[in-house]
Each structure stands twice: as structure tokens, then as C-alpha cells.
């Protein structure tokens, strides 16, 4: 009588142990992997979107070459003068992330990597970019240029 009981209870005990071992292994792997994966993703910089002042050097570049690209937190913003007004847009092309430039003659923004073209408000005119460039607000007071993110 005892023998069959032992035979049926044995595999059960083994399977419980196997299950515990499996859970332990998965838990161990997760506790090793999670910190590594978290470590690999860098901290996101704060400060993007807040008002930003262009440096004197950047303002003089703007005067000389009609446009300047400035850092705003982790983003790049292109500031340019067209039709007497100051415009600012995200400088990163929405296609593959190249940096766009202002073409004063054609009054458009152009990405040289895959020939994407945007109008002065960042809307896609032609080429492969899937989305418009995000707009910023550029204001000039005397010799100072300030950028703020447009809140939609």
C-alpha cells in the first residue's frame, strides 16, 4: 500500500521543486537583467521647452548667415529670418533625424540627407518626411533672442 503512494507523491514533489527552481532562475535572470537594461538607458535631460536665450555668438551668426542652429536641452532648434520675421523650428528632420538648413533663396527648409523640404512653418512640402517640424516661438528684444516651445 505504501509503495504506490510513494510513487505518486514523488513526481509531484519533484515537479514542485522544478517549478520553484524555474521561478527562482527567472527571478534571478530578471534581477540581473533589469538593472543592466536600466543602466544602459541614459537619463533624459530636463530643461527642454523652457525659455532659452541665444548667445551673442549665435545671434551674430544669425545675422550673418540668415540662420543658426542652437541647442535647447536635448533638442536642436533652427532659428532663421524670413520676410522680416524671426522663425524657429525643430532642426531635426522628422524622416531620419538629419539636421535641416534654411535656404533663403527658396524660402524653405531643406534636409540634405534625403531631400526633404519644409515650408517656413515646418509643414512638409515634398520628400519623405512623415511629419512637420515642431514650431518654436522666437522673440527678439534688442540684441537678445529668446526661444520658447509653442504650446498647442
Amino acid at each position: 500500500m505504501t509503495a504506490p503512494v510513494a510513487q505518486t507523491s514523488k513526481p509531484e514533489r519533484r515537479s514542485v521543486l522544478n517549478w520553484l527552481l524555474g521561478v527562482g532562475l527567472v527571478g534571478w535572470a530578471a534581477s540581473v537583467l533589469y538593472p543592466v537594461l536600466r543602466y544602459l538607458r541614459p537619463l533624459s535631460d530636463t530643461g527642454a521647452g523652457g525659455p532659452l536665450k541665444l548667445s551673442a555668438e549665435e545671434v551674430s551668426t544669425l545675422g550673418k548667415s540668415h540662420f543658426v542652429i542652437a541647442r535647447a536641452g536635448t533638442r536642436k532648434v533652427i532659428v532663421f529670418e524670413a520676410g522680416g520675421a524671426l522663425h524657429a523650428l525643430d532642426a531635426k528632420c522628422t524622416h531620419e533625424g538629419c539636421t535641416v538648413q534654411f535656404v533663403p533663396g527658396d524660402s524653405l527648409l531643406w534636409c540634405a540627407c534625403h531631400n526633404g523640404k519644409f515650408d517656413l512653418d515646418g509643414r512638409v512640402l515634398s520628400g519623405p518626411p512623415p511629419r512637420p517640424l515642431t514650431k518654436w516661438v522666437a522673440t527678439r528684444e534688442g540684441d537678445e533672442v529668446t526661444l520658447t516651445m509653442e504650446t498647442a
Partner: protein
Amino acid sequence: MIETERREAPPSVGERLYRWLDARFRLGRLVEFVRHKEVPVGGHSMVWYYLGGTTLFFFIVQIASGVLLLMYYQPGEATSYESIRYIIARVPFGWLIRSIHCWSAHLMIISLVVHMFSTMILKAYRKPRELTWLTGFGLFGIALGFGFSGYLLPWNELSFFATAVGTDSVKSLPVIGQWLLEVMRGGPDVTINTLYRFFALHIVILPLLIVAVMGAHLLFIQVQGMAPAMRHQRPDRPGLRFFPDFLVRDLLLWLVCLLLLCVLVYLLPYGPGIPGMEWELGKKANPLAPAYPGIKPEWYFLWVYQLLKEFPAHLGPMEGPQAALLLVTVLMAIWALVPFLDRRASRGQSSPMFTDLAVAALIFMAYLTLKAWDIGGGGTATKLPDPRATAWTCAWIVLGVSSAVDLVRFLVYRQRWLAFSGAALLHVALNGVFGVNYLVAGAIAMLVAIAGVVLTSRKNPAAGLEAPK
């Protein structure tokens, strides 16, 4: 054996060392193995058996020259570009070491690609060598990773934007895209942090990985031997002895490769000047400068680069780059799984469909690559090349060469299954000659290819994917 032969003369130092080692590690088994190792002869040219070896040779050159470059290279915002410039301009023979590293990288990829296509066309991947193909495909991926990560290290303008574009396409991966993008770049944009990560990838992670995968690849080849030809299978025919006959030829070819490398490095230290195959240092990367025309990745990525251009901004629910990347992934997956898809070859039967698939792949990539080079577009420093004119010229080049190849296959090799290469040529003709949109032309060609497969498997099941008779 050795003892009975050389009883009188005292054993030489080498012999004593051999015996000492043999007593501990039983080297005799290894010697026996090498003595009986043979390379199959007949059926096709022996040339194709040497290409894995030449790839290995260029890889060894890469390790040696890479380690030498490391002696002076300093990763960093203010040092990466400057230290490379110092290596080229000031360090004695620095230009030589860097040029060798660059040339050998390109020659390694060329050798690897030819090796892969010859394996494909000769069906050397067939059972029981599926895992050799898969590890080889892995090595191909790692080699591309080496190329991509090494490209950024000089921190010059060209490499900066090429890396920005190359890493940006990762973002379209579902779920992990954004995470992977930031992990690769060390932030949302390409910065010096990206260079640090690529440096670690290039000199630590990828070398460790490639040694492991290459070890498996070589082990499989040692255990199974090299694949005999499909046609003309005669197991009774004696092969070429590996040691010393094959090895001596192998080493001789390595010497030829070294000479070729020296001549190229001497004549063209900064590369042939083809876009995607030049390594003039140029200007230092400036993350705040706009991209300029003519930014292109290395030549072996050009077909993907051009494909990204061919896709519209949106395609159905997907964004253009996302759809393009999906297409590349699907094509690569098919390529990796060829040994499992090609069931006829696995039974030792000829499978013309997969020969034609390899030719079609070449036509597909050649057309895109030529277009990426703007051949016939008439672009100048101030004027952008005309995409229509480029497509027209490239199409005629591809159509001319490929039709000739298909004609030779038809007449000389008596190959009758040409639906895939025919469809690829139709794609090129529709897009380049008749100006049909690239994707529309591609869809039409795809239908023709599928019709070819369906018709063949109906008419003659033995030629298709299905089980014969």
C-alpha cells in the same frame, strides 16, 4: 610509430616536445584527423572554397591593425578627431596603419559577401549544413556592426550624419524602438556619448561576439567538412588533401591578398573615392551644423539608404521609414532561413528557384546601389542630381549586365527557372525606363514572381518548393 622509426637517432627537440605534449593531450588523434581531412573536388571550381579563408585573413589584419590604432586613438569630444589626425599626420607610418585598417575592412566585407553568394548559388547551405549558414549569416551581421560602429570613431562630419541616419531608423521598431535608439546613442541624439558606446561596441563587445560565432562556424565546418558540389556528387572520388595540399594553396592566396592590400594602400591610401568607400578625414563633426548633400553610408549599406529614399512619407498605417525597415527585415529573414525553405536542396536535388533568388537579390541591390551613387544624374557641387535621369541610366546598366548574365545562364548552364530574376529585371525596367513609381513597380514584379512560383509548382511540382511527385 615514431618510436620504431627513429630508435637509433636521438629525438630532436621538436620531437621531444611533441611526445611530451602527446603524452598529456593525446595529440595523435588531432594529427590523425588532419591527415584524413579532405576538400571535395569536382562539380564546380575550387575557388569558392577559399573565400571563407580570405575573409578570415582580412579579419586577422583588422585585429592587428585595430590594436595598433588603439595605441594612439583617444575617444572624446576634443580628442577623437584630433587623435586620428595625429595618427595620419604625425605618427610614423600612422597613415599606413589606418589605411590598412580601412582597406582591409572593405576587402573583408567584399570577400564575405562573395563567399555568402557563392554558398547560396552552390547550395552549400543544404542539409546538414543549415547551422553553418546561420552562423555565417550571424557573422555577416556582426561584420556590418563592425563597419557601422567603426565608421563613427573618427568623429568627422560624414560619419556623424551617416550615424544619425543609421541609428534613427531603429526608432521605427515596434515596442523597443525608442528604448533601443536611446541605448544605442546614449541619449536622444547622436552626441559624443554615442561615440563612447560605439567605441565599446567596436573594440570589446563585437570582438567577443565574433570570436564565439566564428568559433561555432569553424567548428561546424571541421566536423562536417566542406560541402561537396550538388551536381557531380561522387563520394568515391578522392578529394584534395587538406594538409598540406589545400592549406598551402590557402596560404598562397593569403599572400596574394596581403600583396593586393599593400598595393591598394600604397596607391590609394584614402580609398578609391567612391561614395561609401573613402576615408578622407574631412572636417570635424559639429552637431549643430546642418547636413549637407552627398552624405552617404558605407557602400554595403547604400541599398538600404536608397530604399529609404524610395518610400513615401506614409504607406498605409505605417510611416515610410518604418515600412522600409520592415521590408528589409523580412528580406533578411528570408535570406537567413533559406536552408530551411529550400527543401529540394536539402534532399540533394537541384533547386533552380534558389539560384535565381540569389541572382534576383543581386539585381535588386545593384540597382539601388547604383541609384544611391547618383550615376547619370548629372549632379554637381551646386546642383542636385536629377533622380529621373539617375534611374534611367542605372536601369540600363543593370538591365544590360543582368540580361547578359541570364542569357549565359540560359544558354551555357541550361538554367530554365528565371522567374525571380525576370521579375527583378521587370521592376528595374518599369521604374527606371518607364518611370513607374518604385513601389508600384515592385508590387507588379512581386506578382510576376509569385505567379512564376505558382505556375511552376502546378506544371512541374519537382521544380517548385512542393514535394516532388
